[in-house]
């Protein structure tokens, strides 16, 4: 038996089954004419037979079943009433179809006999003969419905809802124009024009647009295309476009076919299958964002829920997308393939990549120096490759901080028990990634800070209750990325720092003089000074006075910084900022004289040429006035070489750097531009060198120093304030330089 024969056998069986079902369905309808499922199965029978007959080229069957299908489609859509007469015609049609099928299967090569085609014609006439009046009836019925504001049928229609804003007419937007245009894309099945907010009498401003229009629209156009119709009205109208229910199946199928190689966001998935447009998702996200701003206590609503509420997508689609998302996640998790790699090997690779970056810079230099234009293209593409190798290599060492965070759960529980305090640890941002070498080194400082929070920060349950706080204390660990750094926060809701006591202790220890003029912030930061513990009785956990200074030192060794903020009675927040990696950074190279320096690019705010119009330098009070902004500054040449260079004859540039909220200016001779910097740590010998954190080898073999921006900013501020004090003193004593 050939493949075709086999297929024909299947077709014959299928047709027979479908026709039997059809007969049953028709008989059922006689007693129960409104059963939509039965009507549907009738339609499907004709539809399927038509489809498969077409495949085999049985055109006589296609022609006949097409008519029957059309009539049943009308019935299905409620546009034609099924009555005893129609049922008997359909029963005849069913018998006739069986005969046609038989003929095509037994004598495929002979044309259809005249008597059969005569029956076809007669039945078609009977089937369609009443159609004219039926459509009229249906049309009347539907317009009555829309008059009453009833629901518009959604099965095969897009539902478009246009709520125009008052200014639409004034902006030249005529709703009628858009509907006229819409009609070029498909058929407007039903349309409702409402003006629900139109005031009465004199209050109604006829130049305001009060119109709300709802349209049932039949079209094969995509959601994107339909949305584009109203593109110009976007500002003057709330537009909602709901895909037809019949499209849902298509979308569901597409959703299922979405690649599961990576987890996609819900919105992206629905955009990809065409169920939503980017505008829909953007609006919903805005809505979500606005909600989370107004209702702080309530967690933000899930996006899917908002989308369904806004009537831009149906619930089943959202459900399916979420299911798919979850499946993909699980699949990826189960498939996740890891290779254990010796960390030393990885370190070696990264070192090699570092050398590669340097040699690539050297090559560029030579290409440029000898003006080798044809080599330039090759060098440029190699550069791009080296850059991506660098990023990928560094990414290999990136790990999520979550694991480090969760280790503290146990500690918080144990310590809480020991101290007889009920403390809950909340973790967020655990998916934030940073270099493994940084993670390893941050563990100790974090342990210390959390112990401190548990021991000193959170009060005993009695004290908390007396202060009107819940008995259970909380410690929050949070991590996030910010401008090339990772920020880790440890926040407790304890008593806060006691600045009086810190100060008293600091004065007793001789750290500050009694006549200090420290700000609150500076007082808090005193706890990072050596030999200061505010807890009068040291416990065995923390508070021996060795700690906070070590914490600060460890963090600074990672080129990071730590800050503390506290509100008395409400708690303390410690913020640690760390670079993402210790190996390679994007730097900005500047020069003074023959020396070259690297500033981490993430810390460069702007570069300006020093011209009097934009910035004025005040050498005496030691500040720069940059377009009205007062900045402390350092002349890098002076600072590092300690020789005063006559600056008047040179053209200098100003690099504005920022660290956190603090800004300062570095005055330099040359701006060399961005530079990929492979950090080479400096030896122990250079430990006491102020203002430098490392060095790098340049393409031409020279060494450039990497600046410790934070340290230098502090120096600049000191210069400014000391010269300010000096200035006041000079003024007071009447002396002039």
């Amino acid at each position: 038996m050939s493949e075709l024969d086999a297929a024909l056998t299947v077709f014959s069986q299928e047709a027979e089954e479908l026709l039997t079902d059809m007969e049953d369905a028709l008989l059922l309808l006689e007693t129960n004419p409104d059963d939509s499922e039965t009507i549907n199965s009738l339609f499907r029978a004709m539809h399927t037979i038509k489809g498969s007959s077409g495949l085999f080229g049985f055109n006589c069957i296609v022609a006949f079943t097409h008519e029957a299908e059309s009539v049943l489609d009308l019935v299905r859509n409620g546009e034609r009433v099924i009555d005893a007469e129609l049922i008997s015609v359909l029963l005849d049609s069913k018998d006739h179809t069986a005969k046609l099928v038989e003929h095509c299967l037994t004598q495929p090569d002979t044309p259809i006999p005249a008597e059969l085609s005569a029956v076809s014609e007669r039945l078609i006439k009977q089937l369609t003969g009443r159609q004219e009046t039926a459509i009229q009836q249906a049309a009347e019925k539907s317009s009555v419905e829309s008059e009453g504001g009833g629901d518009i049928s959604t099965d095969d229609n897009w539902l478009i809802s246009l709520d125009f804003h008052y200014d639409a007419f004034r902006d030249g937007m005529d709703p009628l124009s858009f509907i006229r245009y819409l009609k070029t894309l498909g058929e407007v099945k039903e349309i409702l024009t409402l003006a629900p907010d139109m005031p009465t009498g004199d209050d109604m401003d006829p130049e305001n647009c009060y119109l709300h229009i709802k349209i049932a629209f039949q079209s094969d156009a995509t959601k994107q295309t339909i949305e584009a119709v109203f593109e110009f009205a976007a500002e003057d109208c709330d537009i909602k476009i709901l895909p037809p229910n019949s499209k849902i199946e298509e979308y569901l199928r597409l959703l299922d076919q979405q690649a599961d190689t990576h987890v996609q966001r819900l919105g992206d998935m629905l955009i990809n299958v065409g169920a939503l447009t980017k505008n829909d998702v953007d609006h919903a996200l805005q809505h979500q964002h606005a909600d989370s701003l107004t209702e702080i206590e309530v967690p933000a609503k899930p996006l899917g829920e908002i989308l369904v509420e806004q009537h831009v997508v149906q619930q089943p689609l959202v459900d399916q997308a979420l299911k798919k998302q979850e499946q993909t996640k699980q699949k990826l998790a189960s498939e996740a393939n890891y290779i254990r790699v010796d960390a030393a090997k990885l370190g070696h690779l990264i070192n090699l990549v570092g050398e590669l970056v340097i040699s690539s810079a050297a090559m560029n230099l030579i290409v440029e120096r000898h003006a080798l234009t044809d080599a330039g293209d090759v060098a440029a593409s190699m550069n791009a490759l080296v850059n991506s190798i660098r990023d990928t290599a560094l990414e290999l060492r990136m790990v999520q901080i979550g694991e480090t965070f969760s280790r503290f759960r146990r500690m918080v529980r144990d310590v809480g028990k020991e101290l007889n305090k009920d403390i809950e640890l909340y973790i967020s941002g655990g998916e934030t990634e940073l270099d493994k070498t940084v993670v390893e080194k941050i563990n100790d400082p974090l342990t210390h800070l959390i112990r401190n929070a548990l021991d000193h920060g959170i009060e005993s349950a009695e004290q908390r209750l007396a202060a009107g706080k819940p008995a259970q204390g909380t410690v929050q660990l949070n991590a996030y990325h910010e401008s090339g750094h990772i920020v880790i926060q440890i926040a407790d809701d304890g008593a806060g720092l006691d600045s009086e006591r810190i100060l008293a202790k600091a004065i007793a220890n001789g750290l500050v003089k009694a006549d200090h003029d420290l700000t609150q912030q500076e007082i808090y930061n005193l706890i990072f000074a050596a030999g200061l513990s505010t807890k009068d009785q040291a416990t065995n956990l923390s508070g021996r006075g060795v700690g906070m200074d070590v914490v600060k030192k460890n963090i600074e060794a990672l080129r990071g910084s730590v800050e503390i903020d506290s509100v008395t009675g409400e708690g303390t927040t410690i913020t640690i900022s760390l670079p993402l990696t210790l190996a390679i950074i994007d730097g900005f190279m500047v020069g003074t004289g023959q020396d070259r320096y690297i500033i981490p690019l993430s810390m460069v705010d702007e570069c300006v040429e020093m011209n009097p119009e934009e910035c004025e330098i005040d050498e005496i009070q030691h500040y720069i006035n940059l377009r009205g902004q007062v900045l402390p500054y350092l002349r890098l040449g002076d600072y590092f070489s300690n020789q005063i260079i006559d600056s008047n004859n040179k053209r200098e540039s100003l690099v504005v750097v920022k660290f956190g909220q603090v800004k300062a200016g570095f005055v330099v001779d040359h701006l060399h531009g961005e530079h990929q910097t492979v950090i080479k740590p400096l030896g122990k010998v250079f430990d006491n060198l102020k203002g430098i954190t490392g060095a790098t080898v340049l393409g031409d073999g020279n060494v450039a120093l990497i600046l410790d921006v934070q340290g230098l900013i502090n120096s600049a501020i000191k210069y400014q304030s000391s010269s300010f004090h000096r200035q006041i003193k000079t003024n007071l004593s009447g002396e002039r330089k």
């Binding site: 006229r180 006829p206 647009c209």
Partner: protein, 110 residues
Amino acid sequence: MAIEVKQQKNGVIHLAIQDEMTIYSVLEQKQELLKYLKTAKEVQIDLADVTEIDGAGLQLLMFLKQEALAAGIKLSLSQHSKAVVEVFELLHLSNHFGDPIVISADWRTS
């Protein structure tokens, strides 16, 4: 005058709008028409000379209908111009206003 009073008798007023009904004209037309609506018992509006109508004009007709309903006045539209019929058909609004519409044969050919 854009609105002509063709007949006024026993509280029945017969008006004809003889201008476009667009965003440029609705402000004036609304004030004028609302005045008649406040005094009459029955208002008939002849739309034969409405050469052009846009969303604002349509909205004004909907407003008049709403006002008339609220005040218990009988409002009827007649002699719909081609432009008005086109808009009514576009928005399937003929039933909303409920007035018989006579379609001239010569529109189809133009």
